[in-house]
Symmetry: D2
Subunit: 509 residues, 4 copies
């Protein structure tokens, strides 16, 4: 039973001055807008959990033919420091350029650096991190450094590291242990090198997928005595934390930044609204107008997909298990059906459920020739791809990420990204979305690190609403958006603080 707690829960929470929302008539710090489009990033950006994707991210290969494992190399940066392990420290300059471009695209983090410069809210923090290592996360890492933290970092995915960026970080003195194409043994070795250090013990964890947290639980449980908190970004990692919490085994506070309002709405609703079109176009060059589409699931992702396709002239059907979301689909103008009812007639099937076996072999058998099947949900289990690996079906790879599965009678199904996430595999995540995520992570670290004794128990918390609002406010200048400030009289009338939070916790946006 949900109990209303108004804003009480956050009333104790005090934001330092530098963290006040800027209203439009205050001096803008952002009037020189950054270059949002730099040179092409070395590769696609990545925002979701390591466990969701990348089993065949072949496009991330670089041409360096050096076959020696980085673990076997002796490398030093220009200051003689060798506390890192990257592919090739000599790529640092190129990586630095990438980071500089990303800095221009992440105004909120740069503003944070500037505003918090005097105060150093992370002074004394020793952060061990495990995330994708890209130019955007480099900006995050260097922001944490600028705020006073010491950081050690490993990659949360064996394919996604940009070697040049890792080199640039190492060159700047960050102990980074990561390269593209790690083996599983390498993967854990890198994590261990971040944690298991003489004379340095982490007091904060920033994790993406839960592997780092898992490693410390397993190998160095005593370390948690000094750890002030965990910040976790991915669905998977958050799920693990709640399981720990339920089992009574969570021994430090953890912050679930995955479910913050801004992250949810941007990563899911707004980002998917664009990436569904992008992913389908890049893989199939299809025309959307007039196509019949069924979208399985009407959560934030499904809502985004449906809105975009409807706007492009597709005829969209929705399936749902939840009556409330189902009623929303109805009111938004989509026919709510069971998949079987439309499976023979649709041109495209899109899964957005987070569930498994939503599209079964039986469905696939009944689809019409040339039907496109893809997955925008949270896992790679939504489409029962395994059921298509049978002898009577022929697979034909027609281009990268596009397979034709051919039935004995010649019918072809067009399967995208082998059922893995279309938006990660076949489209890009805009830097703007990554900026929101990284800013949220930084603020969560600051909050957990500075929280007075007792504010957080050994439990999983959502980001304080005031911080969620603060992240949003840092991104408004991008749109030249001018926020209205409450008058004293209005604030009193509404019973609100003029700097927020502005809504009760149960508010749904």
């Amino acid at each position: 039973m949900e109990k209303w707690d108004g804003n009480e829960g956050t009333s104790a929470f005090h934001m330092p001055e530098w963290m006040q929302i800027q209203f439009a008539d205050q001096k803008q710090e952002f009037n020189k807008r950054p270059t949002k489009i730099g040179r092409r990033s070395l590769s696609r950006s990545i925002s979701q959990s390591s466990t969701d994707s990348y089993s065949s991210a072949a496009s991330y290969t670089d041409s360096s033919d050096d076959e020696t494992s980085p673990r076997d190399k002796q490398q030093k940066n220009s200051k003689g420091n060798s506390d890192f392990c990257v592919k090739n420290i000599k790529q640092a300059e190129f990586g630095r350029r990438e980071i500089e471009i990303a800095e221009q695209e992440m105004p909120a983090l740069m503003a944070l650096r500037k505003r918090a410069q005097g105060e150093k809210p992370l002074a004394g923090a020793k952060i061990v991190g495990c995330t994708h290592i890209t130019a955007q996360t480099a900006v995050l890492m260097e922001t944490l450094g600028a705020l006073g933290a010491q950081c050690r970092w490993a990659a949360c995915n064996i394919y996604s590291t940009l070697n040049e960026v890792a080199a640039a970080l190492a060159e700047s003195g960050f102990p980074v242990f990561a390269w593209k194409g790690e083996s599983e043994d390498d993967f854990w070795w890198c994590i261990d090198r971040c944690v298991n250090v003489e004379g340095w013990q982490p007091n904060m964890i920033l994790d993406d997928g839960g592997d780092l947290t898992h490693w410390i639980y397993k190998k160095y449980p005593n370390m948690f005595k000094k750890i002030k908190g965990i910040v976790e970004e991915s669905v998977t990692g958050v799920h693990r934390l709640y399981q720990l919490s339920k089992a009574g085994k969570l021994c430090v506070p953890a912050m679930n930044v995955n479910d913050s309002v801004t992250k949810q709405k941007f990563d899911n609703l707004y980002c998917c609204r664009e990436s569904i079109l992008d992913g389908l176009k890049r893989t199939t060059d299809m025309m959307f107008g007039g196509k019949q589409v069924v979208v399985c699931g009407y959560g934030e992702v499904g809502k985004g997909c449906c809105a975009a396709l409807k706007a492009m002239g597709s005829i969209v059907y929705v399936t749902e298990i939840d009556p409330i979301c189902a009623l929303q689909a109805c009111m938004d103008g989509f026919r709510l059906v069971k998949l079987n009812e439309v499976i023979r007639q649709v041109d495209i099937v899109i899964t957005c459920t987070g569930n498994k076996n939503v599209v079964t072999r039986e469905h696939l058998d009944r689809m019409k020739n040339s039907c496109i099947v893809c997955n925008m949900g949270h896992s790679n289990t939504e489409i029962d791809v395994a059921s298509l690996r049978t002898p009577e079906l022929t697979w034909e790879r027609v281009r990268s990420q596009v397979d034709h599965v051919i039935w004995p009678d010649g019918k072809r199904i067009v399967l995208l990204a082998e059922g893995r996430l279309l938006n990660l595999s076949c489209s890009t995540v805009p830097t703007f979305v990554l900026s929101i995520t990284a800013t949220t992570q930084a603020l969560a670290l600051i909050e957990l690190y500075n929280a007075p004794e007792g504010r957080y128990k050994q439990d999983v918390y959502l980001l304080p609403k005031k911080m969620d609002e603060y992240v949003a406010s840092l991104h408004l200048p991008t749109f030249d958006a001018h926020l209205t400030e409450l008058t004293d009289e209005q604030a009193k009338y509404l019973g609100l603080n003029k700097n927020g939070p502005f809504k009760p916790n149960y508010y749904r946006y």
Copy 2:
């Protein structure tokens, strides 16, 4: 700080069998669809709190010229019962017809009657109610009766009672105390007649605006010993309950049905999406295409107004105080401005904030000739109408609900509904929305009445998610919408019960 509680809170909650969600392949009970449009209702329907409106609801007058106060009349229904006080018991037949038409338009309540017939989940309940008295609430009342409850009822508003409907209820044996055009003294007298009865003491309260609750607190505080709970619908009433709770004075559990998901999304987002157009058209016959509009506030109501006007070809600007809602406005394609920036150029100003003095005399002074000003928010304070009552300005009533306020230089501002709610004053609330509200009220009463000792404390609760979902499911047949049922394997994978609840409490829809 919001704590995630998964679905634990509701796991103890057991829904009786008749309350299971019906999936599409089960036998439909609704295949004979009801007439949704009956004869014109006696007057506009009403769904919001009594305190929000109606100070000049002149359109509700009926032609009966009988000047005798109902309190001075001796009336009996055809069975000789005289425990009621209505305008004219002879109007019962006409009112019954209205109720029958409304029954056809409220399939969910009728389904509830049918499903719960055997079990009588309200057997023993003694409900005292204080709501608008319309055909739709009559259907609710008679449903409560069919489920086993005894009811006594007063009106929550001195203008809104439909005398014919009140007569029909009295004829059927419901002790109803209400008529159109009560004095304030009448108002409290009616409430008292519901509560202060020999040999009958209420054990449940259904309130809309908090006046009934207030009266019992003030006059009969001991009554709360037997009362199992309060169900409150209005923003105002809910606010009062939270204040009582904060002050430690709430002595029974209360259910806030105002903030249930279905009610919020329907009453606000979806209903306002339609009523903003309807209200503007009926009052001004204006064309929307190409008009410049500023919408103050981007909550559910503002989102609905913006979406509708954008779709009709208006150019819409938004003002906001909350950075998260502001960022949503940006992503939805609206320029976020401060009111001053656009006030000289817009054709229409719409307030949707729940705040006060959002549109000030200064703004009004700067508007261009023939600018339309109206309020869709929660109170009549959003536009500072009082500031327009100055000698240099001339008011000209050009039609019902439309005033021209004329400046000395001839500039005219078109003020709608004198700043009261446009959607209540100048448009109608679809029965479909009223059906959702009434169903929610009925289920909240059932839940509070049947809850085992200890499930609810002396606090304010939101409707259990499972019941919110149930209300939604009861309305899906209207759209011929077919819900998908989880397989056992999927339910296990997701860790969900196949009958819901399907989402964690913090889910935002």
Copy 3:
């Protein structure tokens, strides 16, 4: 076979200086915007042909109980003039007020008056007119007067005359012969009084429906020797003219203003986009979200209806006979069906075809209970209403313009406006649209009257594109819209005159 004629056809056409398009950086004459919303018009405005509607426009009755026929009265205006016949000359003052309000809402005509004041392009013109007589047509008439014309006027419809406006025109010296509630004999008598005058012979005709033209053809064919042209607005009247032309009987040039671009797009696409929602709401208070709707016909009217309903969350199906419009419906995201395929499932049926018996008794028999049926097309024949006048069906009038037709098994169909035009009967035509039409009529009269010998033969012409563009340009200031002017270099590159016309005749917009 359509032959491309580039802009040659219009190259000979010279617009006088006052008719040049105003670009945004030129001095605006409209910076003081008019009041768009006056007092409520005496009644709904009317823009379409007399033959399309009004057989039961009972709502137009006024309360004046004077039973004497205007033909039997002796009336004089305040200057002693008696060359008119209206209901009651004493109502002139009230009518004048209505005209003044309309003037504020018709900036283009007022601008025309101002720009053409010196030149008097209609000096010497003797115009006989037959249109609806409303405040808006009064503004047109007085504009024609201000441009130098003498006018005599009758009503094109026996119900639609606003007596007060007619009185005001008579008081100002216009010979007007019209009142509300004429008999058919009155109707022709009024027309005859306009035409058959001693010492005055018309040289221009402005017609709406073709009755005036027909009368002159029949009674005074010699009059055409002096007539320079006919301007006709209605579909019906235009059709008659083309028939005359085909038969070789058209003896003067005629201008088809019905098919001008601005009129078509505004009267049909943009106006219907709004009036379909307005008409349905005012009659049924229904909610659009989630409703299933079939729209018959995907011309401009159908496109407008579909766009509006889709935007409000309805699920829309389309029927078409023309494969090109059908393909457009597909690309715009509507399922193209035959009416039979969806008739059992839809909540609303809307006809927009201009065809007859599109909805047959067979369709009506198969509709589900409470299905709403209405007509937005060009005639009252689209729904076979006659087929519903059979003994086994019961008709129940539930409110003005809304009938329930009840089948023996209790099924009810909700028939709006008895199958006549919903947008005329149950919604209003915005003054902005009427302004476009009236401006177009004025310019067509000017063009035909001033055209050099030989420019127009005895044939039916569309409005010269340059004039169509000019009408549009006169309405841009309403939207604070700033047109871009071609540079000399660009005009040369495109081979265009900087003042237009800007498109070849076959351009489709």
Copy 4:
């Protein structure tokens, strides 16, 4: 002055039986739907004129290192035929596979082959063609062959030929003279080889860009004596034909298929609605939500761009020179501005005018940092790119088709495709659109070839409406769209033939 000609012009035109529109209840020939997505086409498809693009289409290079000019090679196909000149006849098998895939995606041409098989409407036709040589045009060519024509073919663009497809056509016996990377001399040599043949003289021309027509005019004017007509697809080629016609030098009938309804609406409105998003995403990975965009020109292309960007949450401004299109922009909800008014604030500038120097150096100087500039119009002159080639500006190629132009103060403008067409350079043309174009070309050839003496003069004609409708009808099965057939009674009422044409020529769709 446009004269209405009803349907008279086409009434003489008789469509053979196989060309009747199929209504939905007739037997469908298309129930086995084709694979719409084959293997990745060898390269992007091409639909517009050769003169519009491709000066730097570097991506079309293939890896064949053979440096010998095809003109110097001796090649024979497997049947010993050597009447062709392609890069490498051995690539024929691979090209054949491409053609087979395209066949599946072009159901209308395949249906045409089937329906016209017996009749051979092009028996005796000798067609010389000059188009892009791709899989889709190969399907067209082989369809013409199947209908009885002999064909000889050259490329209309020196870069766009797919060598494998050319080889496959040569292998099948088509005299094809084309390869990727022709010199200008090669270009004219190839055309000459098509025309200047012993014992074969063309009687039909299919041209794209007008170069073939130009060559014959210049070199072999006598050939026109036997030529029955020219079919021209491109804007440029059509323009040349009208100039010839004006100058009285057009000596055969020509068919302007560029301005057919289906082609215009699909190539422009619907295709651009999708390709603007696709082109921007592929080049910049930008997020559309909240971006401020100015679209120059509100013709079909501009309408498509504006609709798409608005739907994705961008804020869109429009500039226009034509008051009618300007008023449409207003009614569609876009602010109409002059470019200067918004140039400092927008994030994206898109030109869709067909005009020159719409975006000048002065505009570029005033844009904000990181503004994106691109062209969707008809030529590469809309943006004054030449003005950016000055010493103080630095150009930086950041990825294919994306340049940063850097001002001395560090401001960067992001220029896409060097100002050439974004939709051709950075996005793909869906096969569905190419199918419409190719079908239109085939029908135009059939019509001109079979037209009785005198139907067509030495002039430029639009496609007969009935054929335009027929093309549309052939594409309806793709959408499972069911056309409604007029009853005899309805056809009579409307004065239409049941098989069309259904609209007067001036109808605007």
